[in-house]
């Protein structure tokens, strides 16, 4: 197999409040021999909020990000579900609407760029499960996760709307997503089946509708706990922020004690590939995941 090479769009969160996501992604890529070029020029994707204020501006900024991956002739990969959604949404809008594409390119021309539509956009999860392949990952496991019951939490923006993920991003059925379950399986962990694994964590209304947000996360976490999860794993740093940082508050709203270590998807893979808890940045978690540290 020729070496896999991708343009990584880090997003804002991996550069600020979840640095462990970026470091563990790079650690996994290094272990597996996947070449990563970071798109240092990229800006914020708008996180579905800039879109509420000014949809056109969001398209222009996302198109600019994609331009830099196109210039390298590489597939753009994301490590955040919401970055994946908003980048793919712009790509879909521009690739299917020539008029909008022309309008966006008129703006991009002012800074010497042109959106062509030549780069695919794909979440790192599917780079691992599809491009690199589950069998190949299985062969690289040095520290099997067989001790752990792991609850996969998919996060909305990697599976819905399915129209956006059909072509190059996993092609999962939004009601029966399987990639994370299969990945946990390949790392020899025990994937937990529970109702809320493909539901919403409520992160996006954390500020303005706090109660809604806490209840939605609480439902999912309690469901995972009641199904004997030792760890919850997610490919989205926004789900991670919500689920790792707010366990006390969520517990108060739901009326239950919530203590569940939450891992980023690449952290889980890195552990199985032999990285130490320190190397995957567990110290940056609010919920300290003691039993993983002592692993």
């Amino acid at each position: 197999m020729s070496q896999l090479h991708y343009a990584l769009y880090t997003g804002c969160t991996a550069k600020q409040s979840t640095p462990e996501l970026l470091s563990s992604t790079l650690a996994v890529a290094k272990k597996l021999g996947i070449k990563i070029t970071i798109l240092e020029e990229a800006s914020c994707c708008g996180a579905s909020h800039l879109q509420d204020f000014d949809e056109f501006l969001a398209h222009v900024l996302n198109a600019r990000n994609i331009c830099y991956a196109e210039k390298l002739g590489l597939t753009m990969i994301t490590i955040c579900n919401t970055c994946q959604l908003n980048s793919a949404m712009t790509k879909h809008a521009l690739d299917t609407n020539p008029e909008l594409k022309a309008k966006v390119n008129e703006k991009l021309k002012e800074v010497g760029l042109e959106y062509k539509g030549t780069s695919e956009i794909k979440h790192f999860l599917y780079v691992l499960t599809e491009d690199y392949g589950l069998d190949a990952i299985k062969n690289r496991v040095t520290t099997p996760l067989s001790k752990f019951n792991i609850a996969p939490f998919y996060g909305c923006h990697n599976i819905r709307p399915s129209e956006l993920h059909h072509k190059s991003n996993g092609n999962e059925n939004a009601y029966v997503p399987k990639s994370l379950d299969n990945l946990i399986d390949a790392l020899e962990g025990n994937p937990i089946d529970y109702e809320y694994k493909n539901k919403c964590c409520g992160f996006h209304v954390e500020l303005q509708a706090n109660h809604t947000s806490e209840v939605l996360t609480g439902n999912a976490m309690v469901d995972a706990i009641d199904n004997n999860a030792d760890i919850l794993v997610t490919p989205c740093p926004l789900c991670h922020l919500k689920m790792d940082t707010y366990q006390d508050d969520i517990g108060k709203v739901i009326g239950r004690d919530i203590e569940l270590p939450v891992l980023h998807m690449p952290q889980m893979v890195a552990l199985a590939l032999g990285c130490t808890p320190k190397e995957i940045g567990l110290n940056f978690h609010v919920q300290k995941a003691e039993h993983i540290l002592n692993y």
Partner: protein
């Protein structure tokens, strides 16, 4: 694979007049490759138990009566091939009403909440009609196309009863009402757009409580994409000056502020800008936890400290924001 498959179908059963709690019953049957979920429900009623109740009428996807859920997936029974779902769910399917909480008898639910929300956005053209017009009211194709897909809504409730916000917050209007609000607000014959935008801008009931989970988009049997309409309502609130300055609107426009300065989002600033200094007290406990874990730094929120990483070629981003912004801060 043959043309038929022998399976056991589970169905939700409940009669609000006689049952204290709902229960599930299983029905064995051989399902043909062309049978729909509606056929399956018909056969439960006709071949197994005549008391099994569900709504049905047009049988070709335009009346919206037969919306149910199969293994949690919103399904318009008369449009959905049964074999497809058997494949998807490994031959184990459970048919349930769109909302288990609102079941009156089996699949028949009390949809009064849906209609109440729908009516609240005035789902009709509000205009002064000349009873004896000299000409028909003309519309350009472009104007018509703006609401064509929203007009295909059959009020089946699939999106409404798939929305997780409505399960937590009963004041929330929900995706179907927002589609209707958009459909009539964008209609050039209509005069009540501003009122609808104001109604749907209110916190608690309006579009700002949407969690952006896309459940509604996945659920809609007419491929309307309610979330796209919700985004358009957000944008129109700013365009038409209806948006009040509140935590949600500042959160949306605060992104421009950060992106102009850094390219990236300033995570501390967006909370500060949305909440205001007085609102920050709510976040002190969380902030302390995050500082301890090294997720944020103690000085991030100080206006003279800049810990935010910068995008390369930031000048391009600044220029693009300047020339592309269509709405005003």
């Amino acid at each position: 694979m043959g043309d038929t498959r022998k399976v056991t179908i589970k169905a939700f059963r409940f009669n609000s007049e006689t049952d204290y709690l709902p229960y599930y019953k299983s029905y064995e049957m051989e399902i043909g490759k062309d049978e729909l979920i509606l056929d399956v429900m018909n056969r439960i009623k006709w071949e197994h138990d005549g008391s099994f109740s569900y709504r049905r009428s047009c049988r070709h996807g335009i009346c919206g009566a037969c919306a149910v859920k199969v293994n949690g997936k919103a399904t318009l029974a008369c449009k959905q091939n049964a074999m497809e779902l058997l494949d998807l769910f490994n031959n184990e399917i459970t048919i349930e009403p769109s909302s288990k909480n609102r079941s009156v008898k089996d699949m028949i639910i009390d949809k009064s909440d849906f209609w109440e929300k729908h009516n609240a956005v005035k789902p009709f053209v509000v205009t002064d009609v000349d009873p004896h017009p000299k000409h028909e009211t003309k519309q350009s194709l472009e104007e018509f196309n703006k609401f064509l897909d929203s007009d295909l809504c059959i009020q089946c409730g699939a999106c409404h009863y798939s929305c997780p916000v409505l399960e937590v917050n009963s004041d929330y209007f929900g995706p179907a009402a927002f589609v209707a609000a958009y459909r009539f607000t964008i209609d050039p014959r209509d005069n009540a757009g501003k009122e609808r935008l104001e109604t749907t801008a209110k916190m608690g009931q309006g579009v700002w409580d949407c969690v952006k989970c896309f459940e509604c988009v996945e659920a809609c049997p007419k491929e309307i994409n309610p979330l796209e309409k919700i985004t358009k309502l957000h944008n129109m609130q700013f365009e038409q000056g209806v948006a009040d300055s509140n935590i949600a609107t500042r959160h949306a426009e605060g992104f421009v502020r950060s992106i102009q300065k850094h390219g990236f989002l300033d995570e501390a600033d967006i909370v500060l800008y949305s909440e205001g200094y007085l609102g920050m007290y709510k976040h002190i406990k969380t902030a302390i936890k995050m500082v301890k874990a090294g997720k944020i730094h103690w000085d991030d929120a100080l206006p003279w400290v800049d810990n935010v990483p910068k995008s390369k070629n930031l000048d391009e981003i600044k220029k693009l924001v300047e020339i592309s912004m269509t709405n005003k801060l």
